[in-house]
Symmetry: C2
Subunit: 140 residues, 2 copies
């Protein structure tokens, strides 16, 4: 089975946020991340057509300031915790630095969508948006 193949992920938008550097960013969105605007490329206008204020969405980003060669981290950067493989952490540093952010839409203005909390730096590329489904939230 061939594994080491690669795919061209395209930015469909960018994050506009007051978060300017990794030092500003909280570790998790529920720890004080600010609201942000998602600014989309006009090429995906139709994909965005049904997004409404109040929607709960999952935003996927490309964490372009993360490192791809770090496979093991101390969770939450806490050196007193034992190192862990990145696939069981939410470290931005990982082979494919994809960010996953659950948000609520607070405003829609054409290609601009405001969301309540987003722990992504200003300028971070957006690569996909999905609705939250029951199966994401229900314990099985």
């Amino acid at each position: 089975m061939q594994i080491a193949e690669s795919f061209a992920l395209r930015a469909v938008g960018r994050v506009e946020s007051p978060l300017r550097s990794p030092d500003d960013a909280p570790r998790q969105a529920d720890e004080g991340a600010p609201s942000a605007w998602l600014v989309f490329d006009s090429s995906v206008r139709d994909a965005l057509g049904s997004v409404r204020t109040g929607d709960e969405l999952i935003v996927l980003t490309w964490l372009d300031r993360a490192r791809r060669d770090i496979l093991v981290v101390h969770p939450r950067g806490d050196l007193t915790r034992p190192p862990e493989g990145v696939f069981t952490t939410r470290s931005p540093h990982r082979p494919n630095p994809l960010g996953l952010h659950r948000v609520r839409v607070t405003a829609v203005d054409g290609l601009r969508v405001q969301v309540d909390h987003l722990e992504a730096l200003n300028g971070t590329p957006i690569v996909d948006i999905k609705p939250v489904l029951d199966q994401d939230v229900a314990a099985r």
Copy 2:
């Protein structure tokens, strides 16, 4: 703000599944998707090091048989439902065909991880694995 940039997403593994064609695949994982094996590349062995049986994980895949030029769909393929922008659906067809799958680990054997339900076709590239966090499941 420059938007139309692209990034090289690398396969870190592949799905081994009895699902061989899109016609076999259920619409959502909670609608009868079979168990599957995630088979990882040896280059990410350390990233995987802390995955254990019983873990709840989010698997991100690259849906390599999806179309990237479809921006509007009838949800669940049901022509009686009004068309919707793909960003508010889980259609595999979308500008970046990333799949998001919540799973529970049922076995770990070196670079092979078995999961309970996965609605991805055999051979689908895996691009990331993340733990489920409270913020993913809690209504805010």
